[in-house]
Symmetry: D2
Subunit: 342 residues, 4 copies
């Protein structure tokens, strides 16, 4: 951590600053430039220290040097995290596609969707049993009934199941049915939930908060990792910007940035990243070309009848066409779809 | 709701669109312009209908007309919501100031702070017992011990207490000690938590999500209101923008916008809205000039020793100076500080 | 245009509103919903009318229906704009790559770069002779000497030349040397400059303003088109968001959105879109996968010696590697690199 | 400037990095932390050096320490810049208000407006003769005729005149009529224009770019100052964010931030900062409470007939009411309206 001292600070005040830092147990390193004096702090860089330093009058700026995460940093596992979920490899050269409806609406629609997306090459089934809904009057998901339907679809198709959990009180129940727990964009920084999920020992997919920067996202992953989780998947799903032509702005830069900073697999959700079904295939292909380790795609038998997110769901036909194109792009970058060991 | 039809849509497809809408139970209104045909939908405007319409090929755009909130809209109570919390009036002409430390650190510091902010004119005591912390290694608050200390400070000073609750499982416990429950910026759209808090029947202060627009904020308030809550306070605390000179960008426009759209009281949190103690007084005064119904200010006996948010906490002296200035600005706009009936 | 009337507006005021609109020469269409009355305005939708309507007390909201551009809308040329610049086809199935240094530094470095990027498959040479520089003390480009060097490199390599013009007074001079004029991100909405450029009759590449939404970008293109320009290229180069890990956030969604809304070719500039050379290849590939009609890439013989933008410039080796990968991705989406008729 | 070296960098590479920096003429300062090695660079911090360093493989991050401006920094003139324009003091304790129509539409309307705003307490007349207009079909201002009308209004009322110049070719002409030249938000970083304006030797008002951060804004002011300008006024006019309820988000934080960082006077434009006339008074009062040194307000005899920006223009009555309230708030913060020496 670098502390930039205000110009014109008297020598005595500077000494008291250095003493303050050393009293917290840090070694310091003083450097006097032409215009500015800076104090280097050697060792850890807790946020609280930064905040306290700002409480001292002669401090102009406190600049962190170390990244606020270690366990999930690339350096901790240079070869990258790879793990299996019921035979599907995540983080490997082969790219798994998670597909299914926004929400489990009933058994028939889910089973039909599961069969069709599997036939088209998907390797993991997604579906919401609990839904965050901005209106108290909207549908909030089928709850445990939805979880049972997901499990039934897994039994029939063999596809492992990913589903979101939103309430600390539901973690245990959801964990009984799901193969991967999903932390939604609203909950990326819901630390009570992260703690509870960590105890389930299930793989977790951590969506980026729509207004969270990459560093905060990796800090949330660190939070999970520090509780012992090793099977963490990151999911870029778009951020909020001034652009209103799309529901979110899919941050394609984040894919190579995260691959560089972290050893965790990162997958792309172009359904939320665009919010419009017509744009989903182009952005899905782009994500693979940029190095994404997977896709998450909303698919619905009839989007004009969907209980939620009809605007961004692909029909079966559109999903099949996208998968055919995605397979070619995967091959162009030396990979293949599937998530199965080559 | 207005549905804009794609140019060149054949008559038959247009008819099927109208039929689809009518089958959902809505009356329609067709209008053919020079370049575009639009279908007006008369009645409610659920988000699901909008999403489904986007699943239909000839639909170009769906434009909502009605606001997605009714109970908290200004029209529902043109004179504005006014209520009392242990003798402090919120929403009236007199402006209450909530002050206290970010976090309850121990009994001594909280009592000292409570006495000092009361002496300076604050009418409500704030203090965190549970803290959202981006690092798993940081301090997460004293929990129930912190709540007990808050209650003790209330007993001594008479100041009602506001504190944040972050986990559905803690609501009942926190509600036993607090006078107002605070929903933090991370949880504005945590609907499980909003539902649980609604059942406590306590007044609620709903902070704006840092990446939520005003409409979404009022929708979250509607969520609370639809559960029966009537004592809701809105709190503007800054939004995330590209500007990095301050921790957040305090949205001063939001004050008059919300006063126009809603009957709920709206207060300002310049501590989080700026993130730097030196900027807090200027923005506090600005918020009062813009029509805010209250302030929430972080105050700490010694910010350089604070466990959290030292950078944005005022010292006692700075708080006193700010209150003296704020009193003059309040008077300039025909109000006074205190939250006490004139 | 749809005018939403405030609830509770007296009948007489509504009549005066309708009369006001009709007096401006528009037909109107009144629709009374359950909660809201709306007035449809049939015909053109000038911004001035919208602004004036907001000057009328009973007007709650004015919602545009028509897009604020016609000439560049997809409907005006459904097959897409395709044109040639010295034998290079832009907008066709084959994808031209524009490459070269940020700034022309001297003849030797430009010629070397031109030869190397041509050998690697680039079909257009880029290089700045005038540079926008945030500091008055920085290098501002070589001016006409730089233009002469660009022309010499074209003579030797046969690569057409694109360069930026920033000042209305320079347009004529730059147009004497360049094959394509570039409008930079700072100048997207510099209408004096757009007018002047329009008179050159040269093809124009219009970069998206870093804080401009897609609609404003297409309006600026419309501005050029309304002056008679037909050879317009759009260039996505990233937008400003809260994310600071990259210089800009490359808006990958914009590629398919613009292809849908407009018939103009759209190319991608991942150098500015990321600001970091290590990220450029991944985002270049992503842009092609998403449907971009071209790339613009900064290349420098030795980025550690560049006068400008060293951080985002590729070395020759990195550019060659990127081109090899890009060729494979282009093929995967049924295209090829080059910009030459198949 | 601080260079953070990648972990695991071999000693030899580190030595070459240090040599590279010293060869550019800088002294260095090496500091080895527990996890990271950093190289401090002593002396100036040109952007080009930063960019070049990023071209070197072992460089992980380059962190500037010095502000990229000196002449306009508070330290260069701690007491603040104060100057006079035809008897109106800018930067002093008394607060001048600039008022007038967005655009000069004809002589009669301008004279009427000038008289009325003067009577209400305004001390400077604003009005556009050249207008940036997003549509080629819109009104672009009266040009020199508009300038003549502004000068006539000055002759009659004694109010000095501020007007925008947008094209390098117009600077000389506009400077013959105006007392203060305005650089609009689109042109904050139009360096050709800034250079040209600098040569006029007139006072300049520099609006903040809608997507520019405070540091970039002060850099643009430095650009003017480095050309010899001393009479520079900064104007906060709102930034672009995700919030769409208002045309811009007025950055109230920027007022105290700029007062702290720079000695230049900073004024507020709540007309553009909100885009809606009903919100202008609240934000104008807020700006004064936050420490703004002036206001710029759009006023029109009949906003429903305005050629431009009707939505955000105040009527005469609304302006008068606002001025009465603003006077009280100014007094509350120890100042008064007018811009006249006490």
């Amino acid at each position: 951590m670098i502390v930039v001292v205000k110009p014109g600070t008297p020598e005595g005040e500077l000494e008291r600053l250095v003493e303050f830092i050393q009293n917290q147990g840090y070694r310091t390193h003083l450097s006097r430039g032409v215009e500015r004096t800076i104090v280097g702090i050697i060792g850890d860089e807790p946020l609280t220290l930064r905040d306290r330093l700002y409480g001292i009058r002669c401090v102009d700026e406190v600049i962190p040097i170390l990244k606020p995460y270690k366990l999930v940093a690339r350096a901790a596992k240079p070869s990258g995290t790879v793990f299996e979920v019921r035979g599907v490899t995540i983080g490997g050269s082969s790219i798994p596609v998670m597909a299914g409806p926004c929400t489990v609406e009933n058994e028939q629609m889910l089973l039909e969707t599961a069969r069709r997306v599997k036939a088209a090459g998907a390797s993991i089934l997604r579906g919401g049993a609990y839904k965050p809904s901005t209106s108290p009057y909207s549908f909030h998901g089928m709850g445990e009934d939805g979880l049972r339907i997901l499990a039934a679809a897994r039994d029939e198709t063999g596809l492992p199941v990913i589903t979101e959990v939103m309430d600390t009180r539901d973690v245990e129940l959801v964990a009984r049915y799901a193969d991967i727990l999903q932390v939604g964009t609203r909950n990326m920084a819901n630390f009570s939930l992260l703690r509870e999920i960590g105890q389930s020992r299930l793989p977790v997919m951590l969506k980026r908060g729509w207004a969270s920067n990459i560093e905060e996202w990796l800090q949330a992953a660190e939070y999970l990792a520090s509780g012992g989780d090793e099977k963490i998947i990151l999911c870029e799903r778009g951020i909020r910007t001034f652009e209103q032509a799309t529901r979110n702005t899919f941050d394609i830069n984040a894919i190579p940035v995260v691959k560089d900073l972290s050893h965790l697999p990162v997958i792309a959700d172009p359904s939320h990243g665009t919010g419009r079904s017509a744009l989903v295939p182009a952005v899905a292909l782009a994500a693979i070309a940029a190095g994404a380790d997977g896709l998450m795609i909303e698919v619905h038998p009839d989007p004009s009848k969907a209980l939620k997110d009809g605007a961004q769901s692909l029909t079966f036909d559109a999903f099949e066409a996208m998968m055919a194109d995605a397979a070619k792009v995967a091959e162009a970058v030396g990979r293949q779809l599937g998530g199965h060991a080559a």
